[in-house]
């Protein structure tokens, strides 16, 4: 069983039915998220407008509008003819350029505050997880210490999946939902630190400590290690924002 093929439970938000609001933009956002998390891959054919519309419960007009937005953004190309259709562009990667733009557009205050919120939720989950973990839980958690492939996408997935797994072990639906929401709020920013080899290895160390403390049933240690894990990421982002850190991988 391969746990690290790019697919994520965090995608529930991506594929939940769409009810209200700017529908075409919402469809677009979800397809972008599916790309960012690897559910949809470069070169892959997208369903036809009618199929896409039926699957997501929107009108074909809305689906067409969404596809046209994606085309304008250069994420898909459309080929006419019998074997035609819309295809995800080849070699799609999570966009570090876009993430960097987001980072520069976010104030230091916002980054700090997001970090504090994430720390509060995640460390609460870790504390409860330390009381409730069984052997199967710990086994799953250890699958997410480091990815099997050394790609940016895999590192970022391991980052979010590890924390979702901690949430799953805690077994609080409210805290779990809050974790998913926090990860969505952090969005593409979390891809940036994983361009840095030093950060990659230090994150493995932190995840190891969190997993170890949960395995030991040590509530306080699990909470503290989780704070350290998130704090390291936030510090990296703040330093990168001040342009003190280079990006080594695209």
């Amino acid at each position: 069983m391969d746990h690290h093929r790019a697919s994520s439970r965090g995608l529930s938000a991506v594929f939940a039915p769409i009810r209200t609001g700017g529908l075409a933009e919402e469809v677009t956002r979800r397809i972008e998220q599916a790309l960012e998390t690897g559910l949809l891959r470069g070169g892959q054919r997208l369903p036809r407008e009618v199929e896409l519309a039926a699957a997501l419960g929107v009108s074909p007009v809305t689906a067409r509008e969404a596809l046209s937005i994606l085309r304008e953004r250069g994420l898909i190309t459309t080929v006419r003819g019998r074997n035609g259709g819309s295809f995800i562009i080849d070699g799609y990667l999570p966009s570090t350029d876009l993430a960097l733009q987001n980072l520069q557009a976010t104030t230091r205050l916002q980054i700090n505050d997001l970090g504090l919120h994430y720390e509060a939720i995640a460390s609460a989950c870790a504390g409860i997880a330390a009381r409730r973990a069984d052997a199967a839980d710990l086994h799953r958690l250890h699958q997410y210490l480091r990815p099997h492939e050394d790609t940016l996408l895999s590192w970022r997935l391991v980052d979010s999946e590890f924390m979702l797994e901690v949430g799953a072990i805690a077994r609080s639906a409210r805290l779990g939902r809050e974790l998913v929401r926090m990860q969505a709020d952090l969005g593409t920013l979390t891809v940036l630190p994983y361009t840095d080899d030093v950060f990659r290895e230090s994150s493995v160390g932190h995840r190891n400590e969190v997993a170890g403390a949960i395995g030991d049933g040590d509530v306080l240690a699990a909470q503290n290690a989780t704070r350290d894990l998130i704090h390291t990421m936030v510090s990296w982002l703040l330093r990168r924002r001040a342009r003190e850190l280079p990006m080594t991988k695209g």
Partner: protein
């Protein structure tokens, strides 16, 4: 009268058993219907066959089911592809639909206990309680049952139903309380699902040895009574 035969135990067995036998019946019916499809089985055919049964399940308030559906294993619709026909809630919201267009959709289900176990063993299974990040984001139990197209044939997919732990509490707490102040329903791993004891939260782990009486509820759940003092 022994505890085994008390009306409250019978009630709990009937309620959990009802969910599981309902799924077993549907698995047989759907297997027969799928076997009757001429030529290649398309997603639209699966949708058309599965939806009426799901509608009936979700529409029956007595059954407390929050989500249900069918997931095809690799081979039924296409090699190395799965197909999900799953709906949730009173408005029959379609779940995870874009995954049907993904070339990596198989991975999403292969690692999920509720799919993997019945698919690999050919036996019904109960998963949870767990937080269902894939569909409802709720704390649920998922009951699943393998579907075969002919008796003794390979497993073609699974049918399943989600019941929230909250619903299980509404369904069972009265019966548990009637059995004693610490009567507790757990899964085979000792994970609390519903307990009459205030101190035991759903999700906590208990040791079976801490109770003097342990009764099987179906094949997957255990009722613990009378703590060792």
């Amino acid at each position: 009268m022994t505890t085994e035969l008390s009306p409250a135990v019978t009630r709990i067995r009937a309620q959990i058993g009802g969910v599981q036998s309902g799924l077993a019946d549907w698995a047989v019916e759907l297997g027969r219907q799928l076997a009757g499809v001429r030529g290649k089985v398309h997603g639209s055919a699966i949708d058309a066959l599965a939806l009426p049964a799901v509608e009936a399940m979700l529409g029956d308030a007595e059954r407390y089911i929050t989500g249900a559906g069918f997931i095809a294993g690799s081979g039924l619709v296409a090699a190395d592809r799965s197909y999900i026909a799953w709906w949730q809630g009173p408005d029959l919201e379609r779940v995870d639909a874009l995954a049907n267009f993904s070339t990596s959709s198989m991975d999403r289900y292969l690692r999920a206990e509720w799919f993997r176990v019945p698919f690999e063993t050919g036996e019904p299974h109960a998963t949870g309680p767990y937080i269902d990040f894939l569909c409802t984001d709720e704390y649920v139990m998922t009951f699943t049952h393998p579907v075969v197209l002919q008796a003794g044939g390979p497993v073609a997919g699974i049918v399943g139903a989600d019941i929230s732990v909250q619903s299980l509490e509404r369904m069972l707490l009265g019966s548990l309380t009637a059995l004693g102040p610490t009567a507790t329903l757990v899964n085979k791993g000792g994970r609390v699902i519903v307990s009459a004891a205030d101190a035991l939260e759903p999700g906590d782990l208990v040791t079976e040895g801490d109770f003097t009486t342990s009764l099987d509820i179906g094949n997957h759940l255990v009722l613990l009574l009378d703590p060792v003092t």
